[in-house]
């Protein structure tokens, strides 16, 4: 015969087990992580000749890639790559892959993040720079734009809208501004050397919710050549929340009444058993 204390303890144990089982059964399946990020490559050094760009995965997640003959002003589309560490190397166009690269750098690709790996500066002090691209959604009804300054002829320049809205002031050669949120719509972007000079204009349309990089290059005639690159895009108004796509036909009827009924019955039964046990074990 068990003592009351033991009975109570057993009951408590059973309750705990039942609660755990209940939790395990009701857990929702988790989503699988994608584990991918984005990298794009750019040649932004005005006096550096065309290069061959090599991309190597440090842990062999992707075969080595070679992009030949990349010249000043070229900016690639994004490559979707497994997260991990990569080496980017630049060799003179046509140089053997065994020769020592002119430049190398490392880029660590994190899941969901995006990077621009660019050769920047004059040839004399050329460097590979890894820019982190913030592709997150801008605030409601805004667009996001930044300036990548790759013009050595206008070492410092101002960027604004024709209507007067400033995008960036005093942007130095070989630097990149942070993203700025601006009103979407039709723009005529003005690019001008700080302190005066020839103004270059770029008519463009900035879409709400989109992310842009304005690349400022030297053109062949000694002027400035602004180019608008779309970093990330979406179209139309943002839907709010999820979608109501189901009428419940594959679900059983509400289980609450049955659960309550069962709970009541079980409670009544357990209570009676308890009382009966006590009566028996209690000599009156």
């Amino acid at each position: 015969m068990f003592s009351k204390a033991q009975q109570v303890r057993r009951l408590a144990g059973a309750t705990a087990v039942a609660a755990l089982v209940g939790l395990a059964l009701s857990a929702t399946p988790a989503s699988a992580a994608a584990g991918e990020g984005y990298v794009r490559l750019a040649h932004l050094s005005p006096d550096t000749p065309a290069v061959d760009v090599y991309l190597m995965s440090d842990d062999n997640k992707v075969k080595e890639q070679t992009f030949p003959g990349v010249a000043y002003g070229a900016m690639s589309n994004y490559l979707r790559l497994p997260a991990g560490s990569y080496s980017v190397a630049m060799r003179k166009a046509g140089a053997a892959a065994s020769t020592k690269p002119v430049l190398t750098t490392q880029v660590t690709v994190e899941t969901g993040a995006a990077y621009t790996v660019a050769g920047v500066g004059r040839y004399a002090d050329l460097g590979l720079r890894v820019l982190k691209d913030d592709l997150r959604l801008p605030n409601a009804n805004e667009a996001k734009v930044r300036v990548i300054q790759a013009s050595v002829k206008a070492p410092v320049l101002d960027v604004s809208g024709k209507s007067g809205a400033t995008i960036a002031d005093g942007v130095a050669f070989a630097t990149t501004t942070a993203y700025k949120q601006v009103n979407p719509g039709k723009w005529t972007v003005k690019v001008q050397p700080s302190g005066g000079g020839v103004v270059s204009e770029l008519p463009c349309t900035l879409g709400a919710g989109n992310v842009y990089s304005l690349l400022v290059l030297d053109d062949k005639n000694g002027g400035l050549k602004p180019e608008l690159h779309i970093d990330a895009a979406r179209q139309g108004a943002m839907p709010e929340g999820g979608v109501a796509t189901g009428a419940g036909g594959t679900q059983p009827g509400s289980s609450l009444p049955m659960a309550l009924l069962l709970a009541g019955l079980a409670a009544a039964l357990a209570g009676s058993v308890m009382i009966a046990l006590r009566r028996r074990s209690q000599p009156e």
């Binding site: 609660a19 399946p29 994608a34 970093d231 839907p239 929340g241 796509t245 189901g246 659960a259």
Partner: protein, 298 residues
């Protein structure tokens, strides 16, 4: 020896007398002898039906550890009536809760008779579930990102095919409702695409939604939950077919739907397939969760 009501209570010698339930009466002598030798035995002694439960036991043991005063005031640990009612009510409540929880837990993930791609009877199931070599970027190679952009696609999407989930449906056009949410397709047998948003194959996240069920049974996206990373999706658009590959699937409560992640800008051409799932709220006649399948072109 005084009980809490102040009345004198005759005590049995050695503390082994007819002790009454719910109340502990101990003499000085009994305390001393217990402290010396019997504390450890109390728990297991079957001749002590007087020990009501763990709580009283602990209190008693605590008292025993005190230096024995000349007169110990042993309070009744529990008023008789309360003790008699409390435990059965507790046990009844706990049992009721367990049964209800257990019932709901077993009841809610109601397994449909249609096993879909995970069924063991279909011979073609294995073929669709085997990952194709082309999903591995190292095998397929990477297209030159400096190359000329792909030829522009024209027109609206007309058809969606997802072989791994047995989905092949024409597409209707969807718009936002007055509250700003994406309206579901009017036809339960068809999926719909968000016609004011990104067109599948263009830069950005195109959105296609479909019902998981109608009032009587499964609808067009019932088997969407079977998709896994690596599965292929095709969208027919203006005579051309745009290929997508599933990158991940995720369930979100509608109350915490990650709008920016699902509908936010992307650096490449992507697709979202959305349907409902999880617990069905019978009062609101609506599912509590959304299933989102993320896919990327290629």
């Amino acid at each position: 020896m005084t009980a809490s009501d102040g009345s004198r209570v005759p005590l049995p010698e050695g503390g082994r007398g007819p002790v009454r339930r719910g109340t502990i009466y101990l003499s000085k002598h009994a305390i001393r002898s217990l402290t010396r030798s019997e504390t450890a035995k109390i728990n297991t002694n079957p001749e002590h039906p007087s020990v009501p439960n763990d709580a009283t036991m602990d209190t008693m043991t605590d008292q025993l550890k005190l230096p024995a005063p000349a007169e110990v005031k042993a309070k009744p640990q529990r008023v008789r009536g309360k003790g008699r009612v409390f435990l059965p009510v507790l046990v009844a409540t706990v049992t009721g809760l367990i049964v209800a929880t257990g019932y709901l837990a077993i009841r809610v993930p109601h397994a449909p008779s249609d096993l879909g791609r995970w069924g063991t009877d279909g011979s073609d199931v294995e073929a669709t579930a085997t990952p194709q070599g082309s999903t591995d970027p190292s095998a397929a190679g990477i297209a030159n990102p400096f190359g000329t952009p792909a030829p522009e696609l024209r027109g609206a999407p007309t058809r969606l095919t997802v072989p791994a989930a047995g989905i092949d449906t024409p597409l209707e056009s969807l718009h936002l409702d007055k509250g700003g949410a994406l309206e579901p397709p009017a036809d339960f047998a068809k999926a719909g695409w968000y016609a004011d948003g990104t067109v599948p194959g263009d830069l950005g996240p195109a959105v296609i939604a479909g019902h998981v069920d109608n009032k009587r049974g499964p609808a067009v996206f019932y088997r969407l939950r079977e998709l896994e990373a690596g599965d292929h999706i095709e969208v027919v658009r203006g005579g051309a077919t745009v290929q997508f590959t599933v990158t991940k699937t995720a369930w979100y409560p509608k109350t915490a739907f990650p709008t920016a992640q699902v509908y936010g800008p992307t650096p490449d051409s992507q697709l979202r397939l959305i349907t409902c799932g999880g617990v069905f709220d019978h009062r609101l006649r609506s599912y509590k969760d959304n299933l989102v399948v993320y896919a990327v072109a290629g």
